[in-house]
Amino acid sequence: MRIRCPYCGERALEEFTYRGDATVRRPDSLDPGAAQAWVDYVYLRDNPAGLHKEYWHHSAGCHAWLVVTRNMSTHEIVAVEFAEKGASK
């Protein structure tokens, strides 16, 4: 697999480290009512057969955290963005 890093261009898979689901949002840790949201955030992950957003770290390159939109069935990469922009709001 090859990922096109916005800084470095297209690079081979082994330069990157996978983290996982980029669609989850960190809940408020000061909200006592957020227990279920926290359990979901920490433990629950979707594994859709189709497009998915994932965090990847360009660990052997520029150290940018990326959000990669990838087809989980074909491994086709549709979009790569910096994490600060790419995570779904």
Partner: protein, 992 residues
């Protein structure tokens, strides 16, 4: 000339260099061949056709093919440490001094004791592993399995380390072409002429593919001339690279291809500094697969006898290698293409006993081809049985008129061709059944791939050339290069086929998979027992397993399965083709990453100094660190005891450069640290350091370390050695993905700073000789947990931190890495009058265990802050990573095993790490298990072993006696539960 010693070598012809002789050895017999030979062709030229014994039945086996699909002719190549088992004789390029041996036979290939297995044929039927050896169960490990392993199996591994080396290489191109037959050469030429960067991979040592084996003409001249012309033109193209002896093994995402180049398998041993093999990773924008097709045999009685050979292979041996694989041949086929063999045999002076056409209707083209070569054409006829044991002696033919016996020593067999579509399916595309071709053809193709020629089911020469050229030009133009056509002239031969698959009336064992000894009877039995899907059939009968992965057997297997189960063959399906296409040695995948070179070792700044001192090193994470510094006559434990005592009594110096070091700067640096640490850092004054605890978002401890505040907006963080990378990645995630609005930057400076701990009651005295006199190190001016910038050795910038891991008066001093080695020498010199000695990580560990500081054994990913006694550090006033989940009831339950110190009741007892903690008078069962020992050390300060452990309700149980039960090593001692800190619990020394 030594051709006289090669009885089956033809007088002329072939792509071999008859002016030179190559000497080799097979089963100890000295033989000769020529450059251009393979081991298989040289053996055939020498009249040797029995080359091994089969896997299960030890049946005599010969050479079936002339390529990498060979199932039968597996030999042990080379001797000693370079011995390689199960090597296909058809793929071994002959070289001077080559030595090979037949396999799976004892005492000799002609007389093999275990051939008696054939008498027990019924025992070795499909699924025999699962059925025959079921009872009694205990017999499996001790009796059956060793017996089967001795009887079955093929070659022997070398048993010692491979003396050769292997490397990995990377290449990038516009167009990758796989295979150099007519389609591949036409594709490469079209793409290369456009100026595109092209790589052509050819498995053989010679370009040309089938063109080398056939008597085709292109542009009115022998096809081999065209191959040479094209080759010369490609060699002259600067952007075209030809990789011979290179098999493309796999297709991966994003246009990535793996290819194995056999760089030095064709010489006695690799030249110095050259690898034996090279594993290429090729990234290509487009790939044109021109991998050709694989001929399949027909299934008939005793069709595995040496002398039964695929018709295409017969033509290869006659035309390319200039030899006669037999004296009197029978052709048995179900397609017109195979009957062209008649003319090649006749031209080589080989008699043709009969041309047996297994199809239901006679073929005019086949009849003409046979009769033109003077062969008798037998329509609607089959071979029912082959006669001869160690080699073909004759056949029994049956046609509409009846049966006939016929003498022959060669059977050229062809059941049609299967497109070599393996590479098209590696990314999960399914091949499709084509009725006209009676074969699977490529289905949907992965992005960037096209297929041309026989690999696509296009068999005529002219059609292959045209299709290859078109595919090459299209691939180049998709990469932005303009290609033009040249259209070499050739004609298409007749390839009409109608599959026979198997001779139903076969007498004797009729084999489908030669390598695994799977016969028609096995498939029938398996189908009867419900294994009706090719994937199940494969696992149950082993059909299509091992080195050839069914390249010659799978199609016939599917056909027999279809017939037995009464299904349409197109509906039966196929097993999945996975990489690699042919066997690849593990060494090639490993490349240079072997033994100590598995990964690069990182060396601390003081490594050279430590080596000089005779230090013993240990791997910690990616680093090599000094474990201890032995003095003459010391046992390892003596050295560690001395180093610990030196730190407690005088002073010691230890390289702590391997700790992760992270520079954190920015207006919001303190907010950022408050969020990543469980405790608070915004309140830390400038010029002070503080211990910090990091949690994971699930509430468990991630890492710990000390962080110093160098300025309002500037912190210097340390992490544990092992977690340095993980923590850096975590901080970057927090900064970039969670809180991009914070004005903060982090950077790893682990490599930039060399850092040393100087610890012991004389540490201050030592450092005063190193730090420039302008800096006041007195306790009042530079108290415990102070930090600041100083200079050393007359102006070298340094950072000084008053931190202690040992519990003694201690400092850490950091200098830019290039001064690291000079600094430790300066510290050693300044420390000499005070008895300073270097100490290693073992003493470091003992010191921290005596002090009860948690480290690797306790920060094991399963412990919480509460477990480690740090519950009060968790801030309640701010958000931080792990805050919410750490507060879960189960994570703060006092029943959880919590950090305690452990002291053996009998002082001579040794505490063992990993021992389970059980109440004193209770049985050692899982139910009574209340925790375990995490770290142990012999404490020279106390004169006995001690340990740290995690014990349920630990803090409430100080003074209680419990069992430390070590089931693995048989230890069972009583220990007293204590507070974790054994030395100076009030912490007076660190503040002294």
């Amino acid at each position: 000339m030594t051709t006289a010693r090669q009885p089956n070598r033809l007088g002329e012809g072939g792509l071999i260099d008859r002016s030179q002789t190559v000497r080799f050895e097979f089963d100890g017999a000295p033989l000769a061949g020529h450059p251009g030979d393979t081991l298989a062709s040289a053996l055939l030229a020498n009249g040797i056709r029995l080359v091994g014994r089969s896997f299960k039945y030890h049946r005599p086996r010969g050479i079936l093919t002339a390529g990498s699909e060979e199932p039968s002719a597996l030999v042990e190549l080379r001797t000693g440490a370079r011995r390689e088992p199960n090597t296909r004789a058809t793929m071994i390029e002959l070289y001077d001094g080559l030595s090979a041996a037949s396999q799976n036979r004892w005492p000799s290939v002609k007389f093999d004791v275990l051939a008696a297995n054939q008498l027990f044929g019924p025992i070795f039927s499909a699924g025999f592993y699962y059925k025959t050896f079921m009872w009694p169960p205990t017999f499996w490990e001790k009796v059956y399995e060793p017996m089967i392993r001795r009887a079955a199996g093929l070659g022997r591994g070398a048993g010692v380390a491979d003396p050769d080396h292997y490397e990995k290489a990377y290449a990038f191109c516009d167009v990758l072409v796989v295979g150099s037959g007519p389609a591949g050469l036409a594709a490469t030429l079209a793409a290369a002429r456009s100026g595109a960067r092209v790589i052509l991979c050819e498995e053989d040592f010679r370009l040309g593919g089938r063109l080398l084996a056939e008597r085709y003409e292109i542009d009115g001249k022998p096809a081999r001339d065209w191959v040479e012309t094209v080759e010369a033109e490609l060699e002259a193209q600067p952007e075209c690279r030809i990789l011979r002896r290179t098999t493309v093994q796999g297709v991966y995402d994003g246009g990535t291809y793996a290819a194995l180049e056999r760089v030095n398998d064709h010489v006695l041993k690799p030249l110095a500094h050259e690898p034996r093999q090279r594993l290429w990773r090729i990234v290509a924008k487009r790939v044109v697969v021109c991998a050709g097709a694989l001929e399949r045999p027909i299934v008939f009685g005793n069709n595995d006898r040496p002398g039964v050979m695929l018709a295409g292979a017969v033509r290869s041996y006659v035309n390319r290698f200039g030899l006669a694989p037999g004296r009197r041949a029978v052709i048995f086929a179900d397609n017109d293409d195979a009957f062209r063999t008649a003319s090649d045999l006749a031209q080589a002076g080989i008699e043709i006993a009969a041309a047996v056409d297994g199809r239901r209707t006679p073929s005019r083209a086949a009849q003409e081809a046979a009769e033109a070569a003077g062969a008798r054409y037998r329509a609607v006829a089959v071979i029912e049985r082959v006669r001869g044991l160690h080699g073909v002696k004759g056949v029994e033919i049956r046609d509409e008129k009846g049966r006939e016996r016929m003498a022959c020593d060669l059977i050229a067999v062809s059941g049609g061709w299967n497109p070599t579509l393996h590479l098209t399916t590696h990314l999960n595309a399914k091949p499709q059944w084509n009725d006209r071709l009676a074969a699977l053809v490529p289905g949907a193709l992965p992005p960037g791939m096209s297929v041309a020629g026989a690999a696509r089911g296009t068999y005529g020469l002219a059609a292959c050339l045209a299709e290859g050229e078109e595919a090459g030009a299209k691939a180049a133009s998709e990469c932005g290069f303009a290609a033009s056509a040249s259209r070499p002239r050739a004609s298409d031969e007749s390839v009409t086929a109608s599959p026979l698959w198997q001779v139903a009336e076969s007498k004797g064992k009729a084999f489908i998979d030669f390598q695994n000894d799977v016969a028609v009877s096995d498939v029938k039995l398996a189908a009867c027992e419900g294994f009706r899907i090719p994937e199940h059939l494969k696992r149950y009968t082993t059909l299509g397993m091992a080195t050839d992965q069914g390249k010659t057997g799978n199609a016939n297997g599917a056909a027999v399965l279809a017939a037995v189960t009464g299904r349409y063959i197109g509906a039966v399906g196929t097993t999945t083709f996975r990489p690699p296409y042919t066997p690849v040695a593990i060494s090639a995948f490993a490349g240079h990453h072997r033994g100590p070179d598995f990964r690069p070792a990182r060396l601390a700044a003081s490594h050279g100094f430590a080596e000089e001192q005779g230090a013993v090193f240990v791997e910690t994470g990616p680093w090599l660190r000094a474990l201890y510094y032995p003095k003459p006559g010391e046992e390892p434990q003596d050295s560690v005891n001395r180093e610990v005592a030196t730190v407690r009594g005088q002073a010691g110096v230890c390289d702590v450069s391997t700790l992760g070091k992270i520079d954190v700067q920015g207006k919001d640096a303190s907010i950022f640290l408050d969020r990543v640490y469980a405790n608070t850092f915004s309140t830390l004054p400038v010029g002070k350091a503080r211990y910090g605890l990091m949690l994971r978002e699930d509430g468990f401890v991630l890492d710990d370390g000390t962080t110093a505040r160098l300025a309002e907006d500037h912190y210097f963080m340390t992490t544990t050695t092992v977690n340095a990378v993980k923590v850096m990645q975590h901080l970057e995630f927090c900064q970039q993905a969670l809180w991009p609005e914070l004005d903060v930057q982090t950077v790893s400076v682990t490599e930039q700073w060399a850092q040393f701990a100087v610890a012991g009651p004389r540490a201050r005295d030592v450092l005063q000789g190193v730090v420039d006199p302008a800096y006041d190190l007195s306790n009042a001016a530079f108290p415990y947990l102070a930090c600041g910038e100083v200079t050393v050795a007359g102006g070298v910038p340094a950072r000084l931190y008053r931190l202690s891991f040992s519990g003694e008066l201690a400092y850490e001093i950091g200098v830019p890495a290039r001064f690291g080695e000079a600094l430790i020498r300066a510290i050693m010199e300044a420390g000499a009058p005070f008895g300073l000695a270097p100490y290693g990580t073992e003493a470091l560990g003992v010191l921290r265990i005596e002090k009860g500081h948690p480290a690797g054994g306790e920060l094991n990913g399963q412990t919480t802050a509460h477990d480690l006694g740090f519950g009060k550090m968790l801030s309640t006033k701010k958000d931080f990573i792990g805050r919410f989940m750490a507060a879960r009831e189960a994570l703060t339950d006092p029943l959880r095993p919590t950090l305690v110190g452990l002291r053996p009741l009998a002082r001579e007892d040794r505490v063992r790490a990993g021992a389970h903690l059980i109440p004193k008078d209770k049985e050692a069962t899982a139910r009574n298990d209340q925790g375990y020992v995490t770290s142990i050390a012999f404490s020279p300060s106390l004169g006995h072993w001690l340990g740290l452990g995690l014990l349920s309700r630990g803090p409430e149980r100080h003074g209680e006696i419990v069992r430390a039960y070590d089931h693995v090593r048989g230890g069972d001692i009583l220990v007293e539960v204590r507070p974790p800190c054994f030395i100076d619990p009030e912490g007076e020394r660190v503040r002294g």
